[in-house]
Amino acid sequence: MRAGGFLIRWAGLALVLASPVFADSTLPPAPLANVQLKDAAKEAQAQALMATLRCVVCQGQSIADSDAEMAGDMRSLVRTRIAAGQSPGQIRDWLIARYGDYISYDPPFSALTAPLWITPLVLLALGAWLARASFKRRGKR
């Protein structure tokens, strides 16, 4: 019994101290992965775009938030292209042409995403209609 508790305590400690293993290369990050552009306005543009692009490795994060190597490579790509004079819209379109709308956290209006945009409006209208009907009834009493 005591030995069991001891084991469990050690196993718990080992779990706490263990770090997750990532399949990462030994190369340093891409040139502009973690280095800001010298032009502050361009860096701000790049940052704003990076916050709306999905990291394809850790799929719930943006490439601005992710530590994945591929996210670093994508940040470097965004900064290189912004520095070369491309607009954020051009870079987003370039990535969407390769990964689909999935890469962008700013969903475009399409048949698939229409319910996302329209449902709140429909629900609001329904609520207003319900409220009107119940206020009317109260008024008559």
Binding site: S25, L27, D73, L77, A97, R98, Y99, G100
Partner: protein, 175 residues
């Protein structure tokens, strides 16, 4: 409100619960697929990574012979598992080109010595540039390219043993 109508919210709630349960038990497919399948290969030109093999450029495709474009790395463990399948594909006459993602010449030479060398050419991609240009999201991935340089299929993850005959048949059927 009539006695029957009062059950409607209950039914709606039950429906939502069923939807949530269905979503929880559905195995989610998190595979990121390239939107370039069916289109021509984007332009690229990568230097060689080992002295014994040429690098990789768009011009090497579209030569009338279908090829595989394998995205791999020496630091990628599934790539080791995939190596025997690539060797079998090569034995069957399938030409395989590769791009090494974020790698070094020494590590690639060691990887080829350990796991066999099925590649006709290997491009050096230190910043995943070709990977991003192809809409690929990891290693290993394999793109099937036809003789006109068009992307026919994307295979995400390592090629398993039972997938080899299908790939050989696909490549043989292409022009």
């Amino acid at each position: 409100m009539s006695a029957r109508l009062i059950w409607i919210p209950f039914a709606v709630a039950l429906g939502l619960l069923a939807l949530a349960a269905w979503g929880l038990y559905q195995p989610a497919d998190r595979t990121v697929r390239s939107a370039l399948v069916g289109q021509t290969l984007p332009a690229f030109d990568l230097p060689p990574i080992v002295p014994s093999k040429p690098g990789l450029a768009t011009a090497q495709f579209a030569t009338g012979k279908p090829r595989l474009l394998n995205i791999f790395a020496s630091w990628c463990i599934p790539c080791v598992a995939e190596a025997p399948q690539l060797l079998r594909l090569k034995q069957a006459g399938v030409v395989i080109d590769a791009v090494a993602i974020r790698d070094t010449p020494a590590a690639i030479a060691d990887f080829l010595a350990r796991n066999g060398d099925p590649y006709a050419a290997i491009g050096d991609d230190k910043t995943s540039s070709l990977q991003l240009a192809l809409g690929s999201s990891g290693v290993p991935e394999t793109f099937v390219i036809d003789g006109r340089g068009r992307i026919v299929q994307q295979h995400v993850g390592d090629i398993r043993e039972d997938e080899v005959p299908g790939l050989i048949a696909l490549v043989r059927g292409l022009k």
